[in-house]
Symmetry: D2
Subunit: 355 residues, 4 copies
C-alpha cells in the first residue's frame, strides 16, 4: 500500500506540493495520551523551509490542524487526522518547464507511471513537502516513546567531503540525543558546523547542490523487538527510510565496513554487568537476527544532492524531444539538514509500530 | 507479518534448521505457467552447503517436494507449497552450547523474544538454511520474469579487502548476467577469483570468517514500476534484502558515494535515443522517486562475516553467567558466495510482486 | 486495520460526528479518470440527513472538499483525500447524557475499548455520519464501474412487517437499477412505499424506531472475480457491509432459505445461450466457490432499528450506577432508507477492489 | 490475500483434495504454549469423513504432521506448519466428468478464474477437504482461548425443515458448550437428533442433499474487543465464516429478525449486577459498534445443500456444449454436521486474532 504503512499503528499520507493541503491519518494511537502540540510545532519547524540561507526560500509555516481523534488535549484512540494547508505555492516558477523532465527527479518515472496525469506542480505528490506529515507523526511517536524512556537523535555525519565524528555506539548519553534534537544544524562536533555550512553555501553559489550522510541512534530499546526474516527490524526501518525522497543507502552498525572485517572482530562480545546484558562493541547496531539486543540502535543513511540545480542540463520533454533545462524555482542547495528531523521521525514511527 | 511477505504474490516461509523440514507457500502465481524444475534445482544447488572447501561441511541435497498448486508440470494458480526435508542434522554439534549465547548470532535476542522456547538447534528458525525456500521461490520468479525478458544477476564485488570491478551501470548485456548465474563463484573479473578464495581460506585456517559485498543488477525492467513513499521500489526491495541473515547495508546506484557528489554530477542526464528514453549515467541505479526509469536496477548489499568462528569468545549463558564459548559444528568461513543466489532470488521475488 | 480497508484500492476513513470534520483517503485510483462531482453530490444527498420527516432533523449539506489526488477534473493516481466539515453539531443535545450508556449503541463497548477517552459527542467515531465518506468513495467507485458497464442498485425490501418484492435474480434490467438510484425511497413496487413510510412515521410518533432489510444487486460482473477461501467475494463484501453501523445480517442469493432446500432445487442448472454461460436459477446469488459466475450478484442485509429512541430505558452510567435514560437529540426513526446508498457504496468499493 | 488471513496471528493454507497433501502455516502463536495433540486429533475426527452413513464414504484419517514451530511439546513462537497427507484419493471417480461443470460447485467460476489450469480432481483447492487445516488451527486456538476461560460451541439448529431450539442468548453455561464439543451430532435438544438424521438419510436415499443452519456461541469474551468500522468483530468473523465452502448467510444476535423489531424491543437494557455490566436481553449477540460488550457472542450461519447429488442435471462442458451430468463419486448428503467443528474452528481463529 503506497500511501498507508504500519501494522499496529497505520499511517496514511496524502497531498501534493501545490494542492490544497497535505496530511496524514494515524490509526492505532492509544487513547488518553496527552499530546504536546507545541512540541509537534517545534519538530515541524526543524524541517520547515525558509528558515536559513542554507535552505529553499519558500516559506511555509507548516501550521497543522487536527481534524479528528483528539479531544480535550488527549488522543481518543480513533484515527487522528492532521492537515497542513499549502499557503505559499508559486506554481508559476514551475509552469514553464511543465513538459521537461528534470534530471534526478521523479518527473519521467512518474510521468510513465501516471500516464502524465499526476500533479507536477512543485513535484506534486513526490515533493519533499510530503515529509512534513511524517515529521508530525514522528513528533507524536517520540512523545509516546519518551514515556518508555526511548530516545531518538540524529546528526549530520557528512556533507560533501566534510565529515563529522560518529556516535560512540556503545554508550550514548540521553543528553547527547536531547541536544541534537534542539540543534538547528545538528552535528556531534560543533567545530565542524561552519565547515559543513560553507560546503553547502559554496555549492549554492555555484547553482549546484551537495549530498551527505545522517547518522541516527535510538537508546533504551528493550531487547527482543522485531522479528526474524520478513519483519526484521532492519526491514521495517529501511522500508520507511527509503520512503524519504533522496535517501539512496542505509547501513546498520558497521554496515558496509563489515565487508572488510573478520568475524573475530565483527562479533560483539557479550557480558553481564550488574544484571544487564551488554556487548563490549556494537558493530551490529543493536540488532541481531532482526531483533533488538538492548544495545543502542545505530544506522546511517546516504542522501543524494538535491536534483534541482540552477545549471543547464540535458533532458527530454514529454514529446520525447532532446532539450536543455535550467530548473528555476526555489530549492535547497542541500536537503541533509532539513532531513535530520525527518529521519528521526520515521525512526519513531517504525519503533512505535513494532513495540 | 514476519513469515508472510508480498502484496500481489504472497510468500510464507516456515521451518527450523534441525526440525522436520523447511518450506514456503507461494500464493498468487499465474495459472498455467510451466515451471522448469531442473532450473529450480540448479538454483538451489548454487546455495546448497557442502559443495566446496569454501563452505560448511554439512551436506544437504536440498531436494524439494511440491505439495500443491502444481499439476501436470504447470502452476494451477492456487497456493504452491514446496517443502525441503532436513536430512543431515547433527544436533549434537550444538547441544553442548545450548545455553551459551553465540556472539554475533540471534541467540540472545531470540532468547528474549521467545522466552527461551525457540528451537536453538542449528540456529533454529534464524538459520541461514531458511534461505533455501527463498531461492526456490526466486527460481520460479526468475522464470516468470524471463518471459518478460527481465534478467537478474549478482556477483561478489568484495571479500574482505579484495575488491572486484562493479557493473557498468549504464549498459549491462544479458550475456553477462546469464554467465554470473552459471558461475560457481560469481565475480566480474575471473582473475580476482583466486585472490578472493584465498582470503576466505586464510580466514578459515585461522578459525575465523570474513565478510563481503554483493552487487546485483536487473535489466529490461519497464519504466513506471514502484510507488512514491511507502512502497518505493527501494523500500520493497530492501524489506526483503534485510530479511536475509547477515545483510547489514543496502545502497542503490551511487549509494553512499552520493554524499560526496554535487547535483550537477549526481543527476543522470536524460536523452532520447531512437525512441528509447535513457540516461547518460545511472547514479540513481534505475530508480527515481521510488519508481523505475527503465535503466538497469543496480544495488549493493554488505554482508557481515559469519559469526560462527572457532575462536574462543566472551559471552553470557542463559543463567546470566559470564562464560567463554568456542562455537563448534560445521559452518561457512564466508557466507558471501552462497548468498549470491539468495540475493538474486529475493530480487526476483520483489520485482514479481510489484510487476 | 480498523480505519483502512482494501488491497488494490485502499480506503482510510477518519472523523467524529461533532469534531472538525470527517473524511476519507482513497489510494489506488487509476490516473486520468474524470470524476463527475455533481454525481458524487447527488449520491451524498441520498444519504444526507434532514431531508424528510422520515429522517433526523439534523441538516448537514455534506459538502465535500477534495484536498489531493484530483487536478483539472481528473484523478492524478496519487491518494485522493476528501473532507466533509461538520457544520451543524448540537453537542448540547448529548451533553446531559454524556455519562449514561445508551442501550443498543456502542457507548459501553466503546467506553471499555477506549478507556473513556473516545469522543462521545453525537456517537463520535461510531456515528452513522461516518458513512458519508463511504458514500463519497462509493460514488467514485460507481463511476469507475460504469465504464465497465457494471451497475449496482439497492432497494428497501422490508420495513418492520411491511415487505416489498425481491429482485428477479436471473434477469435484472439496467433500467431497474438506474431507477432505484434515482428514487428517494427506493422500493421495487411503488405501491408499497406509502405503507412502509407509514410504518416509520408510526414508530416515530411513538418515540420508537424500526428496522428493515435492504436487497442489493450488481449486474454485468464478469465471471472469475474473487478468490477461494480467505478472499471469497462473500468474505470481501461482508467485511465492508458489517462495517456499516446497524447491519446485523448478510445473506447471498437464497441465503438462509438454503437451509430448507434440497440440492436438486438449490443447484443452479447451467446452460449455454448463444455463447453466454448462464444459470436457469440464481440461488447462489452470482457467486460459486467465492468467485463470480457471471450471473447477477444478489444479497440482502438486515438492519436493526435505530437504537436512539425517545422512550425511557434502563441503563448504567460510567460510574456503574443503574439509571434511567431518555435519549434526546435528533435521530432517525428508521435508518434503512438512508442506508440504501451506503450499502450501494460499499458494494462499489468492494467490487472495485477485486476487479 | 486469498490463502493468508489474520493480523496478529496469520494463517496460510494450501493444498488440493487429490494432491500430495494439504496444510496450514500458523504464524504468531505465543512461544512456550503446550499443545494437546490428542485434543487436535479429536477435533479433526469430528470433521473427518467416513465416520457415519450420514457422511461421504471417503475415509481419511486426517493424521497431521507438524513440520515446524513445535519442539518438546511446546510452541516455539516461530511459524508452525502442519501437513495432512492425502491418502484415500479416488480420482477416477471424477475423471469422467473432468470437463463438465458441476452445478452449484465452483467448477465453472474456477475454470474462468484459472483459465482451466486449476486442479479439478475432487474439487481441487475448492474442496471442503481444505477445512481440515482450519479445524487444526482452530483446535490450537481453542486451547489458547481456554486459558482465558473463553469457550466456543456450536450446534445444528436446523436441517431442512427440522428445527432445534436456539441458545438462551443471555445465559450460556460452560457445560452446555463443552457437551456440544463432545457430541457427534450436536443439537441442543437430543430428542430432535433422530428427526434431523432421518431428514438427511431421506435426502441421501433420493440421491439428493439438504442444507441447514448452525448456531454458534462464545462466552467469557471480555468487553472491548473489536474495532469500529472496517474491523468490526462482525467483519472479522464473517470474513472467515464466508471462507467456509457452502456458507451463504451470517446473522448476529437477532439478525434478520431485527427487521421486524422496534428499537424499544431490540435495544438490550443495560444493568449492573454485583459489579458486572450485563444486558437483560442479548439481541445484539454480544457486539455493539463492532466491539464486544461482555455478553455471549451469538451468530448463525446458513449452509447450502451439498451440490454433489446423484440426480441428473443440466450443465455445460468446457467446450461450451449443453450436456447432462450425474455427479458420481462419494459425497455428503448434508455437510452441516461436519461443518459444526469447522465453524467453531474459524470462530476460535478470529477471536484469537483480535484478542
Amino acid at each position: 500500500m503506497s500511501a498507508t504503512w504500519g501494522k499496529k499503528i497505520r499511517y496514511t499520507i496524502f497531498g501534493e506540493s501545490h494542492g490544497k493541503g497535505i496530511g496524514i491519518t494515524i490509526d492505532g494511537l492509544p487513547p488518553g495520551f496527552e499530546i504536546d502540540l507545541a512540541e509537534i510545532s517545534k519538530e515541524m519547524a526543524r524541517r520547515a523551509p525558509g528558515r536559513s540561507p542554507l535552505a529553499t526560500a519558500r516559506t511555509e509555516k507548516d501550521a497543522f490542524t487536527i481534524y479528528s481523534g483528539f479531544v480535550n488535549g488527549k488522543t481518543t484512540g480513533t484515527p487522528l487526522c492532521a492537515i497542513i494547508e499549502n499557503l505559499n505555492q508559486k506554481s508559476t516558477d514551475y509552469e514553464a518547464m511543465n513538459q521537461k523532465f528534470r534530471p534526478g527527479h521523479a518527473d519521467y518515472s512518474g510521468y510513465i507511471k501516471y500516464n502524465g496525469f499526476n500533479d507536477i506542480r512543485g513535484g506534486g505528490h513526490f515533493s519533499g513537502r510530503l515529509t512534513a506529515p511524517l515529521v508530525l507523526a514522528g513528533a507524536i511517536g517520540k512523545q509516546l516513546l519518551l514515556q518508555k524512556n526511548i530516545l531518538i537523535g540524529a546528526h549530520i555525519q557528512r556533507i560533501g567531503s566534510v565529515s563529522a565524528p560518529q556516535f560512540d555506539t556503545v554508550t550514548i548519553k540521553p543528553a547527547v540525543l536531547a541536544q541534537l534534537n534542539n540543534q538547528e544544524f545538528a552535528v556531534l562536533d560543533p567545530l565542524i558546523v561552519e565547515q559543513m555550512q560553507q560546503c553547502i553555501l559554496s555549492a549554492k553559489s555555484a547553482g549546484d547542490s551537495v549530498g551527505g550522510i545522517i547518522e541516527t541512534a535510538a537508546i533504551n530499546l528493550p531487547a527482543g523487538l522485531g522479528d526474524p526474516f520478513f519483519d526484521s527490524l532492519e526491514s521495517t526501518l529501511t522500508h520507511l527510510l527509503f520512503s524519504i525522497p533522496g535517501i539512496k543507502g542505509v547501513e546498520f552498525g558497521a554496515g558496509f565496513n563489515f565487508a572488510e572485517m573478520c568475524g573475530s572482530v565483527a562479533n560483539d562480545a557479550i557480558y553481564n554487568q550488574d544484571g544487564v546484558i551488554k556487548t563490549t562493541t556494537n558493530h551490529n547496531g543493536g540488532i541481531l537476527g532482526g531483533i533488538t539486543n538492548g544495545m543502542p540502535l545505530i544506522f546511517r543513511v546516504a542522501i543524494k544532492p538535491t536534483p534541482s540545480i540552477n545549471i543547464e542540463q540535458h533532458t527530454v520533454d514529454s514529446k520525447g524531444e532532446n532539450v536543455m533545462i535550467v530548473v528555476g524555482g526555489r530549492h535547497d542547495p542541500c536537503i541533509v539538514p532539513r532531513a535530520v528531523p525527518v529521519v528521526e521521525a520515521v525512526t519513531a514511527m517504525a519503533i512505535l509500530d513494532i513495540l
